[in-house]
């Protein structure tokens, strides 16, 4: 099938990662759990994972199909 699944996975985790990290940065008082800003930290982790997937998709060569 023509869809490289790394595109949607990468895009989704980049989006969720950005949302979480953004919330952690701007709304840090409500992002704390056990003394750590978990939203910010985990948002960065998800961003990294999303970027890794996108990098794999780009390197793999298949463009996301046009809608």
């Amino acid at each position: 099938m023509g869809l490289d699944i790394r595109w949607p996975i990468g895009l989704m985790f980049t989006l969720i990662g950005a949302l979480l990290a953004g919330d952690g940065a701007l709304n840090s008082a409500n992002s704390i759990s056990l003394g750590i800003n978990i939203n910010f930290i985990w948002g960065i982790v998800l961003l990294g994972f999303g970027a890794f997937m996108l990098w794999g998709a780009v390197k793999g060569g298949k463009k996301p199909p046009a809608p």
């Binding site: 989006l15 979480l20 982790v45 998800l46």
Partner: protein, 646 residues
Amino acid sequence: MQPIQLQWLDYTILAAYVAFVIGIGWMLSRYMKTSSDFLTSARSIPTWVTGLAFISANLGALELVGMAASGAKYGMSTAHFYWVGAIPAMIFLAVFMMPFYYGSKARSVPEYLKMRFDERVRALNSVAFAVMTIFASGISMNALAKLLNQLLGWNYNAALFISSGVVLLYVLKGGLTSAIYTEVLQFFMIVLGFAPVVYLGLKDVGGWHVMNHSLQTVALNPAALNLKDAGISYASNAWTSAWRPVLAGPSHNPMGVDWFAMIFGLGFVLSFGYWCTNFLVVQRAMAAKNMTAARNTPLVAAVPKMFFPFLVIVPGMIAAALCTLPDKGYRIPPPILSPASYARAIEVVKNARAGDPADAVTAVSAALGTKVAPDKIVSLVAANAASKLSDDQIKAGLYNSIAENDYDGVILSLVKRYCPSGLLGLALTALLASFMSGMAGNVTAFNTVFTYDLYQAYFAVGRSDRHYFITGKVITVVGIALSILTAYFASMYNNCMDIIQLVFGFVNAPLFATFLLGMFWKRTTATGAFLGLFGGIASSATFHALTLAQGNSPGVKGGYLKVVEVFPSEMAQNFWLAAFAFIACLLLTLGISLATKRTKSDAELKGLVYSLTPRIVDDQQPAYMRPAVVGVVLLIACVVLNLIFW
């Protein structure tokens, strides 16, 4: 537990996930041209995708919720469901069985049975499988809707229809490929959604060593956490070692199982029966793009599967450990009771006289409809008599006095405890993803078996591919509708889950004997396989009717004819039942095969039976790609894990 209040960020994450899974189905819809595209993915998918889908289809929410529950109840021994009950069978499937499934060009497991034996065996397997997948899907959806209702206050019907509707949308658009692709996305969602909960839980409890130390306290007095009856005590390693408590005997481990039942019942019969013959998981490997990819699919899946205990069982162990640390203020959640029950019990506490504690305890227990800790009720009544407590204070006291645990609530209680808004949305989305992957897996397996093995085989032979393509889509809708109906059925009967699991056990346990003999002994006849399988199922039912687990009354849980054997636990009863049914099916099939004539020649069985099929030569591939080599490496890794947690 009070309902959780979600914020806009949580809803946004949930919405993003739903949009992406529907989007995947929509993008794939353009490639759906034939019934093969829709029902079997036209054998076009790369290994890493089928591998992760293989594991994700099995990773339903019942497993996520259930394994955390077992982690609290039984500790590290629960890992046997992975290290003994999954990895060896997955390796066996890859190395020995996949060549027959994939090489025979069968489109489903029942179709393989038809090629190897005859229509009777195919029909028996297809009908049993179709019914089981619908019930599995419905039970899973009922659990999800109940959870969303209790946890978020969502309407049960709305939760059921919306989640089923999302699955329907993406499966109807993109068929099996859509289910497989979204399962990969769901796999990452589940891992990345629950990993921070495990990390925060370990941090809270004080690290791995403190958790182990606390679990030693649990083992010495499990009654303190309502895990066992008063007076029961185990060796200090009962919750932290995987093997030592099991080797010590059934009375020395909280599961109540012995090593033979564990290794033969779980590790051989149940495990191989599930992983090697269940079309739900085998279908993912059969969708791979070539034989090597198909054989490597279970091996790719085995890598994360090996480490899943740390994601799904450790949270339960953390929960049990937290209960022993008074400063943490945590308890395993009690069963969810209705506000009316609490209101009745509050009135009882208010009207109780401090001088009559026994009556108060009985009355509170009756009002709540559950067991309570007498000393806590007596203290509560005394505190209320001394200074009038508010309703909320009494309710909190009642909550803490309930002497029963709702183990299925463990994982959610930790999510609620540690996750701020945002991370909460991520964890709940992971839970939703696990439910959806389970349902989509069942529905796609159901529509393939129903369309090819029942409809095409018996009702509409020789029609055009377009006809079966459309039928596959219609059956997808029917499958979802039947799942919703069974969800309502499951919600009406408390013991529905027990009955269904029982039926699964009856059907699945002997099936592996049929496959084992069929694939590795060319003398196995169709009549032998058919009657052996029937006899195996009947043996399961008879075994169950004559045995019982300690603490259960005769009925759905067994012993309804006569009790001739009592097992220390339900798990032990199930493991022994599986072993008995397997041996019965094996001996019956052997005997009847020897007494009946073969109906298929050696030429017809080529590619279906081990001794008549040319060996696959892997020499052309690098060592790390050869299934046998990878299988041995994984087996060694699995043994090492067993030794580390011995």
